[in-house]
């Protein structure tokens, strides 16, 4: 009896103590619009996934608070020759499992990311190979005079070689093709947080890495990351204090959130431009025109362009918060010039005339692939545009589903019209969209060339830019390439999308940059 009493007292005391320590911990509860596609940052070129995993994994260099390139796992670097860069690595860095960080890890990671099966190889387009000089020095070989290696390396994160080998995870995974591996559900990086637990689509818990090499500018002990797809539920969760932060506050709810004294909203334009893609192969995917592909006719593409009432879209669907654009890149992205930004006027009558001239006076039907958890108000955009197209006789068979389903359709080219948003991250240069989206699918180029468009002249311009160290000349090539693509209406640009974060009373300060990436290693809680 006595011992029972003692045990129960001990239990009560222990319970009180744990509650106390839990209360003393700073736990940040993050409600996102969707889950990360994988814990493997190489498994899909998705900015959001990489942004989340940047808390766990780091690259040789990183962007600082001003979006300038700063040392991370490399402390310094020099250009040895036009094709060779030498990096000096930081000493004393440890992975989350305690293994030391050395040159072997860098080499293994570069081999993994540049594997022909790696979906992220397009993020390192100029990479030719890497050699270990000593334990803390590596040399990276590139195509001659490649200007943007450091920008690329900001998000080529470093894995632990022994961990990869021990878990047979040397080969990259691929979300789009359904290739999974150990790294899909496990993580071992050098970053400020480590993964404590993960339940896909339910909850991922991050714990502070006390052995982080950098001096922490945050006071967070734990991050609980929960995907909440329904925007209304997300807002309710924030208002009730169930979450402390969301990186995706629904535009229509911003006034309501701002009116709440405890909630702070950070809204601004981000770098991401949203545009439509066309299937440019010989065959349509799901259309009543089967003998040829109408999308290959510039008149058809122009008709689709001119039948979109972008002002109504901006005002109603985007709540006046998006920036209408004729350009594929945001003004802040190098390579942008004002001339790129002019839009063809909204003119449904002209659109009808163009369709008639192209031989489709009664329009035609086609598949229109959209996601419902990707870009800001994406489903609403696609619906609204479908009805605008319907008014000129174009029947869009709208296929809306979560990103996880649609990615596979995009990567296999199973769409007639699709949607893509490109932020030019992590490069923050228009070379990113040019080499990854616009370029034909050759080697590491054109990884996102989902519709099979081919512009040899533009490819040549992009290739020239890729070996031009003179910044002005390089940007000249890139602007020319963007102009040619614009003149042919290869894509149908809509707007630079707004970003809206909202946070509850527990968050003291947070850093929001135009790349729309939450950085909790720079976040203070009360």
């Amino acid at each position: 009896m006595k011992s029972l009493l003692r045990t129960s007292v001990a239990a009560v005391v222990a319970l009180t103590l744990t509650t106390f320590s839990a209360a003393a911990e700073n736990v940040l509860k993050w409600g996102a619009q969707r889950d990360v596609v994988s814990l493997d940052p190489y498994s899909y070129g998705d900015t959001f996934t990489i942004a989340v995993l940047n808390h766990v994994y780091e690259g040789l260099v990183r962007y600082d608070e001003k979006l300038q390139i700063a040392p991370a796992l490399a402390t310094s670097w020099e250009v040895v020759s036009p094709t060779v860069w030498r990096f000096h690595l930081r000493k004393g860095v440890k992975f989350h499992n305690g293994a030391p960080f050395t040159a072997d890890d860098v080499i293994a990671s570069l081999i993994r990311v540049s594997d022909p099966a790696s979906p992220l190889r397009g993020n390192l387009p100029a990479y030719k190979g890497a050699t270990k000089v000593d334990d803390y020095t590596v040399e990276i070989n590139t195509t001659p005079n490649y200007p943007l290696l450091l920008n690329d390396l900001t998000n080529i994160v470093i894995f632990d070689k022994e961990w990869l080998v021990a878990n047979h995870a040397e080969a990259p995974t691929d979300v789009g093709k359904g290739v999974e591996g150990y790294a899909t559900s496990h993580a071992n990086g050098t970053g400020p947080f480590k993964i404590l637990s993960r339940k896909p689509d339910a909850e991922t818990v991050f714990e502070v890495n006390k052995d982080w090499w950098d001096k922490p500018k945050h006071n967070i002990d734990k991050i609980i990351f929960t995907p909440i797809t329904s925007s209304a539920t997300r807002v309710a969760a924030l208002l009730s204090g169930e979450i402390d932060f969301t990186n995706s506050a629904p535009l229509q709810d911003i006034p309501r959130l701002q009116a709440s004294p405890d909630i702070k909203v950070l809204a601004s334009n981000e770098l991401r431009t949203v545009f439509f893609l066309f299937n440019r192969t010989d065959k349509t995917i799901a259309s009543d025109i089967t003998d040829k592909n109408p999308m290959n006719d510039i008149k058809v593409r122009q008709a689709m362009y001119q039948s979109i009432d972008i002002d109504a879209l901006q005002k109603k669907v985007m709540r006046g918060l998006s920036r209408n654009t004729g350009s594929l890149i945001a003004p802040a992205i190098p390579g942008y010039v004002d001339a790129l930004d002019s839009r063809l006027p909204y003119d449904p009558d002209a659109a009808k005339k163009l369709l008639a001239e192209a031989g489709y006076p009664n329009g035609f039907s086609f598949s229109f692939v959209c996601e419902n958890d990707g870009y800001v108000n994406e489903e609403e955009i696609c619906q609204a545009v479908s009805s605008m197209w319907a008014r000129v006789g174009l029947k869009a068979n709208l296929d809306v589903a979560p990103t996880s389903l649609q990615t596979a359709k995009f990567e296999s080219g199973k769409f007639d019209v699709g949607i893509l948003g490109w932020a030019n991250e992590p490069m923050i240069d228009s070379f990113s969209i040019l080499v990854q989206v616009v370029h034909s699918k050759i080697d590491t180029s054109g990884v996102f060339n989902w519709g099979g468009w081919k512009y040899p002249e533009v490819d040549a311009l992009i290739d020239s830019a890729g070996k031009e160290l003179d910044r002005e000349k390089r940007l000249g090539f890139q602007t020319q390439a963007l102009t040619k693509v614009k003149d042919d209406i290869a894509f149908l640009p809509l707007h630079q999308q707004p970003m809206a974060w909202a946070m509850g009373p527990k968050i003291e300060s947070i850093v929001q940059l135009t790349d729309n990436k939450p950085r909790f290693w720079l976040t203070m809680m009360k």
Partner: protein, 318 residues
Amino acid sequence: MSVETQATKTPDAPRFARLRAFLDGDLAHGFFHTPSAVISALVLLLIALTAIAAPLLSPQNPYDLTQLFLDKAELPPIWSAGGEAPYLLGTDVQGRDIFSAILYGSRISLMIGFASVIVSVLIGIAVGLTSGYIGGRIDNFLMRVGDLVLSIPTLLVAILVSAIFRQLLPVSLRDAFTPVILTTSIAITSWVQYARIVRASTMVEARKEYVLAARILQLPSSKIMVSHILPNVMTAVLVTATLNLGLAILAEATLSFLGVGMPVTQPSLGTLIRIGNQYFFSGSWWVVLFPALQLSLIILAVNLLGDWLRDALNPKLR
């Protein structure tokens, strides 16, 4: 009075006498003296009529994308400030007239509800009669299949079936076939109840004298099942079917709310609620409230009617 005349006119139909007595006598009398039953029947009738006449009554065809205008999006109901004719109950974020969308949406909801109940009743009767009349191994097999279906949650099966069908169909046909897919997926999860009821009653009826008489006459089994046993087991089926109509409508709404049902381009009530749910916090309450009210009204009316029918046809309660 009419009972007698009819009975004398058709003396060879004693087996219909019980049913007819209900309809002409007690049942009708009970119905008109149960206000909840009368009101729910009237409400259902009104909803069904307006749903059928939707193209005539609604100012806009919400399925016709050319009639949706973004500049008329998110207008409040006509009686609030900013409301505009002819958008009686306001519009949603795509400029869809809520009133029209509700009429068209009810049409789909009721259609899928009725169709799936009819399909599941037909399957249930076929399985139940066979099982109960023939018995033996066939009975065992059919009932184990039923157990299997019952052991998996209805909604899960429905989601699975509709997901599989949607993947199999080409994109261009998907929208057109969605009502059929939904009907099928709801029906194949709810036939077991009817099968069990019909089987139990069939086993009882099969031992009665009139069935024995029919067998002595060497009538084929199919004829005995359909024209002799079936009329006598229909009462219980009718009650269950009425009560299940509400569940079927609700199942469709749930599937659409979850995003695996009717597409946004031809919204059912569930789809409308899903759309409206996103705009609840922003102050556009009308987008979600009115479709939700309509759905509740339909379900309530069907359930009240079903409850009354169950009581009225239950010999123990009379």
